[in-house]
């Protein structure tokens, strides 16, 4: 029953919030309308997203996001120095990052995070999904980079998105 009529409760909630953001209003009418969309749209789009990510540890999520935002700002300042330096002395290279995460959704989030943070971009995923190919702007020490990413992002993600 719930699977059929409320396949993605989280998405439904997101839709309600997004609706309220879109209309920039909190009137009852819009709450109801937003809720209606939140209920109806996932029913129709469910076939496109059959998996149901189960988020655990909501507090950790908030913490994770906060860390991430901070990292992004800092990372950007670092990148700024690199870019603006008259003669950038950088060592760009590829790094193969070994994945512990198995959840597809979690892997995707990790890759996104890698892309948003200090001088790294997730360039490819190996066919067996055990390695992410990372391009880093400046990697004097690849192992250190891998370790940082693991502790800072992959570990919390393992907790947030188990399976």
């Amino acid at each position: 029953m719930r699977d059929r009529y409320l396949p993605h409760p989280l998405m439904s909630l997101t839709l309600l919030i997004v609706w309220l953001l879109l209309v920039n209003s909190l009137s009852l009418g819009h709450v109801l309308l937003g809720a209606l969309f939140g209920l109806l749209i996932p029913i129709f789009t469910n076939p496109f997203w059959p998996e149901r990510p189960h988020l655990a540890r909501p507090l950790l999520i908030v913490q994770f996001i906060f860390h991430l935002l901070m990292d992004i700002v800092i990372a950007n300042l670092q990148v700024a120095r690199t870019i603006l330096s008259p003669k950038p002395s950088i060592q760009p290279d590829f790094v193969a990052y070994p994945l512990v995460l198995r959840n597809e959704f979690a892997i995707t989030i990790l890759a996104s995070v890698i892309a948003l943070t200090p001088g790294t971009v997730a360039a490819a995923l190996s066919d067996d999904r055990k390695l992410i190919l990372i391009h880093a702007l400046d990697v004097p020490d690849p192992q250190k980079l891998i370790a940082t990413l693991k502790s800072r992002y992959e570990a919390p993600l393992l907790e947030i998105l188990p399976e």
Binding site: A96, Y97, A115, V121, P142
Partner: protein, 110 residues
């Protein structure tokens, strides 16, 4: 006054990061390096301006207007995927067999 200051700050910071990303795009030596600028800096820069906009309209109209954040969120979600797709494409087009080259160099092996 301080609100104006805040708004101006976000506008200018945003503009600066935007420019930063574009300078990176223009200046860095190879494609994979250039990829970093827009993916991070420009996204952040636009985020800053969106924040400025949200602040501006919230204060002007005296009501919370944070729908600009949706754009920022969208960009933060989409930019990595764009970057990933571009990197994938670059690897494909340049026929770089990075996986194998990484195996050949044990130093890089985790």
């Amino acid at each position: 006054m301080w609100t104006e200051l805040l708004i101006s700050f976000f506008i200018l910071a945003g503009g600066a990061f935007t420019l930063l990303g574009s300078i990176g795009l223009a200046r860095l030596p190879d494609f994979f390096c250039r990829l970093h600028g827009p993916t991070k800096a420009t996204t952040l820069g636009v985020g800053g301006m969106l924040l400025a906009s949200a602040l501006y309209f919230s204060l002007r109209d005296g009501a919370l207007s944070i729908h600009e954040l949706m754009i920022a969120v969208f960009l933060f979600i989409s930019a990595p995927v764009s970057a990933h797709m571009l990197a994938k494409t670059a690897l494909h087009l340049e026929q770089l067999d990075v996986w194998n080259s990484l195996r050949d160099e044990p130093r890089r092996e985790p």
